[in-house]
Amino acid sequence: MSARDERREDGGRALEPPSVVTSLVVLAALLALTLATVALAYVDLGTVGHVVVGLAIAGAKAGLVMGFFMHLGHEGRLPRLFAGFGFTWLAFLVLFVVIDVVTR
């Protein structure tokens, strides 16, 4: 196996304290997205449109929180892998329940 040290593996900057400026910018983006999702809730997009927009904005916000506040962007492969496992396995659950319910 290569010289990569699995014991201490990270994305390179995980041992640096988080930057105040970056965190402020992320917070501002999160607050802006919150206002956007509330505002769009009052625009007529149809039920499907609302679900898509609501999920997309919530997903973007969750991505910001995980990528920066939860420093997933600075992590190595393993934390990203397990973060992915959580959502992938949830997708398994959703997929098969949907297959059943839609064709029942």
Binding site: R8, D10, L15, P18, T34, Y42, M70, E75, F82, V94
Partner: protein
């Protein structure tokens, strides 16, 4: 760039150094987060199925909720996530007072969130918007549907609120330890607490549009 607090006394058995401990704690927390995603995921599958089958019931229920209040609650949690980042930063820099202060700020914002939640619960219960379906007493389909929506509402926000309560307790304990103690707490532990707190935030980011923003257009 300020120096990372990398005192050897911060390292606990069986780890060899701070980088090693940090990587292990981070991985452990992400494994924990993965299981939390599935734990809450069950609720969202229930919600999704219910909304697909009864879109009108969810829309009507959403209109009964207080959007401005929920928006303030969302902002409160987002800001508390930011203060938590500063708490972790303080811990990494070895700034004890900064750590105590930012943890206290995070805890206070969390308590504010819970206070708003409690007010909201009280308001709905007083208005008779409760989840329990009494089939014999239900005068109409609409009333039964409303009870079902509030079942979703109370269960989803309730499990989230329980996670907030758990977070507040640990945050308060760590804040007190940092304010009192001579020795700094291990910053890897504060990092783990931070990951948990942000996760609670992420869950709310999905609960908020799912319940409060349904059916306003």
């Amino acid at each position: 760039m300020a120096e990372l607090h990398a005192d050897a006394r911060l390292v606990r058995e069986p780890f060899t150094d701070v980088a090693h401990q940090r990587a292990a704690v981070s991985l452990g927390m992400w494994v924990f987060i993965a299981q939390e995603v599935l734990f809450f995921g069950v609720l969202f599958v229930w919600y999704g199925l219910f909304r697909a089958q009864h879109p009108d019931v969810v829309a009507a229920g959403g209109r009964a909720l207080d959007v401005p209040l929920a928006t303030v609650m969302t902002v409160t949690l987002l800001v508390s996530s930011f203060t938590m980042v500063l708490a972790v930063r303080s811990a990494m820099l070895g700034a004890r007072r900064g750590l105590a202060g930012w943890l206290a700020a995070t805890g206070l914002l969390a308590v504010a969130f819970l206070a708003m939640k409690a007010w909201e619960y009280h308001h709905h219960i007083a208005a008779g918007e409760v989840p329990v379906v009494d089939l014999h007493a239900a005068s109409s389909v609409v009333e039964a549907g409303r009870a079902q929506f509030f079942g979703l509402y109370f269960v989803m926000t309730g499990f989230h609120a329980l996670h907030v309560v758990g977070g507040v307790l640990v945050i308060a304990w760590r804040a007190l330890a940092a304010a009192r103690g001579r020795e700094l707490p291990r910053w890897t532990a504060i990092m783990g607490l931070g990951l948990y707190w942000h996760l609670v935030d992420v869950v709310w980011l999905f609960v908020f549009p799912a319940l409060y923003l349904a059916g306003h257009a």
